[in-house]
């Protein structure tokens, strides 16, 4: 099987940012998630919950609301007062429109999808018309006294409920005037000095308005008369979010204690036609505030300050009870944040605003399997490279020889040259980037470190030649279909392979339904190994332009049940230089070696997350999160 010395690296202090908003798109079964640092990620729920696209964050963008509108368009609004539309094809921001109402707290799209409503800091509710290429301001509704924190349209599009501080207003859309103003009690059956903030409202088609507020209550209001119908006190802390299903027979709320409650409309007695809302299930999957929830036809989705995205399929909605019906917890990003230089034993860590370069420690001791060897030389923090400007870093890479570092933000591309002498290291930035090199989705160095491959978000792949002091542009590949070509992770349905020496299109890998999560080319045999999000692994021989024998036999036999039931996607593939029959793979929880000569796989399980042996214990992440709600436990 082979012996390895495993470097267990624990000094990567990566803390993911908390989830702020979640928006579910029914037509394409996709989930858009926005985080507190401004990153927006898109998950494909049908492709095994794979994160297929992401938009990098920005310091000034504090998103507070996210919504899908007609035609698969994604909008977000934040505290900087702007409404941003995202271009899902080009993976950048289409435009940003200032709403002139101060910070925007909430946003919702009309049921028809052609209008957009925003609630602002100054108490105004603004209506925008969605035109094919932009949005246009239409009119204002009656201005309220305090900030509008939540909005909801009636399914017919005639009325709107807006939640503010201490009251809820119902507007008529045509005239823009208020019909009812319902005052919310500050505390359940009592008075309190703290104002009651209505964090979420939902408008049902029978005229009921459901509101959740900071006193921990879920209240049902009748919008025709403007009165309170039912009051549920479910928590001591704030109830922060609410989402209702399309059929309006169930909704889900998230609290600040980390609990998610499921409410359902059930008949009063077993054969009566009268129904009432009953709190059915509590789920405690989070440790911190749950700030966003969404309700898909079959699952409850929640995300919060503890950075986990939890997807809980509902048992009664699922027809086939297979592994799909289990809980999914997505903690770590599905993209690579670490790159390694093998020759010099360096690791490059990518954070939101800086890069860190570390040299691995070494040991001279030897031992048996499972021993922890003492370090003779500790790991060295060599470099701390900060980016200028408010944008987050999208991708970064270090060349295998260790002398080039390349990274890119949303608008600029940086390349630096490292010089080593004795134990010192000096960095020199290569200025004068070519004009077409704005931002890259992926960066890859060739094996001999002479070429740099940059995949830009316009869909083209640039090849640069790296020389001693400078670099020059060699070639640009344009994908013929115009799809999104990303080196290292082929996202579109067809992958193209180019021959490096002759620089022309060599062959095309046949398309597959599920997106590719990882791919790598074996150095000796020149085979391309692809791993897809549904846990299938293919091997493709490049010189022969067809699938290899091994791959065909594996497909005939099918993978083992246990293998297919893993829930996290394979993030990295690499090869052992001396053993061409071995493929090393890993995902969030497991590291395994596939031996092609054996009929089955060999699994080597390690408990924490390993990223080329970099571990990130979950406790460390929790230690750096904002404070949670106090829970009183008996006996403490």
């Amino acid at each position: 099987m082979g012996e390895f010395k495993v470097h267990r690296v624990r000094f990567f202090n990566y803390v993911p940012s908390g989830i702020r908003c979640v928006a579910y798109n029914n037509q394409s079964n996709r989930l858009a998630v926005s985080r507190t640092d401004g990153t927006v990620e898109i998950y494909n729920l049908s492709a095994n919950y794979f994160q297929e696209k992401f938009f990098p964050g920005h310091e000034s963008r504090a998103t507070e609301a996210l919504c899908w509108a007609a035609g698969q368009r994604l909008f977000s609004a934040g505290l900087n007062g702007e409404i941003i539309e995202y271009d899902l094809q080009a993976l950048n921001i289409k435009y940003a429109v200032d709403a002139f109402g101060g910070p925007i707290w909430s946003m919702t799209a009309s049921p028809s999808g052609s209008q957009l409503l925003v609630g602002c800091e100054d108490g105004s509710v603004k209506l925008f018309q969605i035109t094919p290429d932009k949005i246009q301001f239409e009119r204002n509704f009656d201005r309220q006294k305090s900030r509008i924190l939540s909005l909801s349209w009636h399914p017919s599009g005639t009325h709107i409920a807006a939640g503010s501080i201490d009251y809820i207003t119902v507007f008529d859309v045509k005239s823009g005037s208020t019909i009812h103003k319902m005052t919310v009690d500050r505390q359940y059956m009592g008075a309190s000095k703290r104002k009651c903030i209505v964090w979420g409202v939902v408008f049902l088609s029978d005229g009921t308005v459901i509101s959740v507020d900071s006193a921990g209550k879920v209240q049902f209001w009748d919008s025709a008369t403007g009165t309170l119908v039912k009051n549920h006190l479910i928590s001591n802390a704030d109830v922060l979010s609410i989402a209702v299903a399309d059929h309006e027979d169930s909704f889900v709320v998230g609290t600040a204690e980390g609990t998610v409650f499921h409410f359902q409309l059930v008949p009063v007695t077993s054969n009566s036609s009268e129904k009432q809302w009953v709190r059915t299930k509590p789920f405690q999957h989070h440790t911190h505030d749950v700030r966003a929830v969404a309700h898909s036809p079959t699952a409850l989705i929640s995300g919060g300050t503890d950075t986990h995205l939890v997807i809980r399929p509902l048992m009664e909605k699922i027809e086939v009870k297979n592994y799909d019906a289990a809980l999914r917890k997505i903690t770590f990003p599905h993209r690579r944040l670490i790159s390694c230089s093998k020759r010099r034993q360096l690791l490059l860590f990518q954070f939101a605003h800086h890069l860190e370069l570390w040299r691995l420690g070494s040991t001279v001791a030897t031992g048996k399997n499972g021993d922890t060897l003492p370090l003779s030389k500790n790991a060295d923090h060599l470099l701390h490279l900060k980016t200028k400007g408010p944008e987050n870093i999208i991708c970064s890479c270090i060349s295998p020889c260790g002398s080039w570092i390349a990274y890119s933000t949303a608008s600029r591309f940086f390349l630096c040259r490292l010089n080593y002498d004795q134990d010192n290291i000096s960095l020199k930035r290569v200025s004068k980037m070519p004009a077409f090199l704005h931002s890259a989705l992926h960066i890859l160095f060739s094996e001999d470190s002479a070429k740099l491959f940059v995949a830009s978000n316009q869909g083209s792949l640039h090849v640069m030649q790296l020389l001693e002091g400078s670099f020059k542009h060699l070639h640009t590949f344009q994908p013929p279909s115009g799809g999104n070509l990303v080196t290292g992770h082929r996202e579109s349905l067809g992958g193209h392979i180019w021959q490096m020496k002759t620089l022309e299109l060599h062959c095309t890998v046949p398309a597959y339904n599920f997106p590719v999560t990882a791919l790598a080319i074996a150095p000796n045999t020149n085979n391309l190994v692809l791993a897809h999000s549904d846990q299938q692994v293919f091997e493709y021989s490049i010189p022969d332009k067809q699938y290899t024998e091994w791959s065909r036999t594996i497909q005939k036999q099918g993978f083992h049940q246990v293998w297919l039931q893993r829930d996290t996607p394979i993030t990295h593939i690499s090869f052992h230089p001396k053993r061409p029959m071995h493929i090393l793979l890993h995902d969030a929880y497991m590291f395994c070696i596939i031996d092609k000569s054996l009929p089955l796989l060999f699994l080597d399980l390690l408990d924490e997350k390993t990223l080329v042996a970099v571990e990130r214990p979950l406790d460390d992440i929790i230690a750096q999160l904002p404070p949670p709600i106090k829970k009183k436990k008996f006996g403490t």
């Binding site: 007062g81 002139f100 301001f137 900030r147 703290r194 704030d238 406790d619 949670p628 709600i629 829970k631």
Partner: protein, 256 residues
């Protein structure tokens, strides 16, 4: 008939009149009181100012005789004098105030730009805009212009291109006040959210306590997740380190 003895009601008034010389108002009042008091006592000429010692004096001096007319004339004189002083005081105050006003106007004038530049700005047929070359946000500007044209209710936007106000340089000016306003509003919004979720009145605990709760309930109780507080007494520790170093050096120096 001349009355030898002063009337009780009048004596205090006259004493006051003689004592408070400095208060013309009260004197006036006193005079008026005295004058008013006179008709009731009859038209006879009565001495206004009588010697206080008149009672105790056993001299056989006859009190002075004053006619009513002369007394009246004197009273009028007094009144006139009082009025004069009041008027003088008022005019003095007025002058003082005028001088102060002028001083302020002077100072204000000095603070403003010299007239030449102001003229230039007004004749350039643009509204006067505060120049801020440091903040040139072009993209922001274009959007604001668009919004202006659309006619949405935006009161703060007043951005226009200033054409060659000075030395053939054309640049775009942006009101600093708008950017500050926007930043301050964003900060206020963030402060609001922080306060409502983590501020006073919310039931928040520290991460250490949260993670140690499980340890406390185990059958064999364990310590908290972060038991040591390494940040305690940093100054003391630093002082101790310095002292130790100095002490060791001193020990080395003295040969013993």
């Amino acid at each position: 008939m001349v009355q030898l003895r002063p009337r009780a009601s009048r004596a205090p008034a006259s004493a006051e009149a003689m004592v408070d010389e400095s208060q013309p108002a009260s004197e006036e009042e006193a005079e008026h009181g005295l004058l008013l008091g006179q008709p009731s006592s009859g038209a006879a000429a009565e001495p206004l100012e009588e010697d206080e010692e008149g009672e105790d004096d056993f001299d056989d001096e006859a009190p002075e005789e004053l006619t009513f007319a002369s007394a009246q004339a004197e009273a009028r004189e007094e009144e006139r004098r009082v009025r004069e002083t009041v008027r003088r005081d008022k005019t003095l105050l007025k002058e003082k105030r005028k001088r102060r006003e002028e001083l302020f106007i002077e100072q204000k004038k000095r603070k403003l730009l010299p007239d030449t530049i102001l003229e230039k700005l007004t004749t350039a047929s643009q509204t006067s805009i505060k120049k801020s070359p440091a903040k040139l946000k072009e993209v922001n500007l274009q959007k604001k212009n668009e919004e202006c044209e659309k006619g949405s209710d935006s009161k703060k936007v007043k951005v226009q291109k200033v054409q060659s106000v000075s030395q053939n340089k054309s640049y775009v000016a942006l009101r600093l006040k708008d950017q500050d306003l926007r930043d301050s509003r964003q900060q206020a919004a963030q402060a609001f959210i922080h306060n409502s979720l983590y501020g006073p009145g919310t039931n928040r605990t520290t991460v250490n306590k949260f993670m140690s709760l499980a340890n406390k309930r185990l059958p064999v109780k364990k310590a908290a997740a972060q038991f040591l507080n390494n940040a305690w007494g940093t100054q003391k520790k630093q002082n101790a380190k310095k002292f130790k170093r100095r002490w060791v050096i001193r020990k080395m120096k003295t040969p013993r």
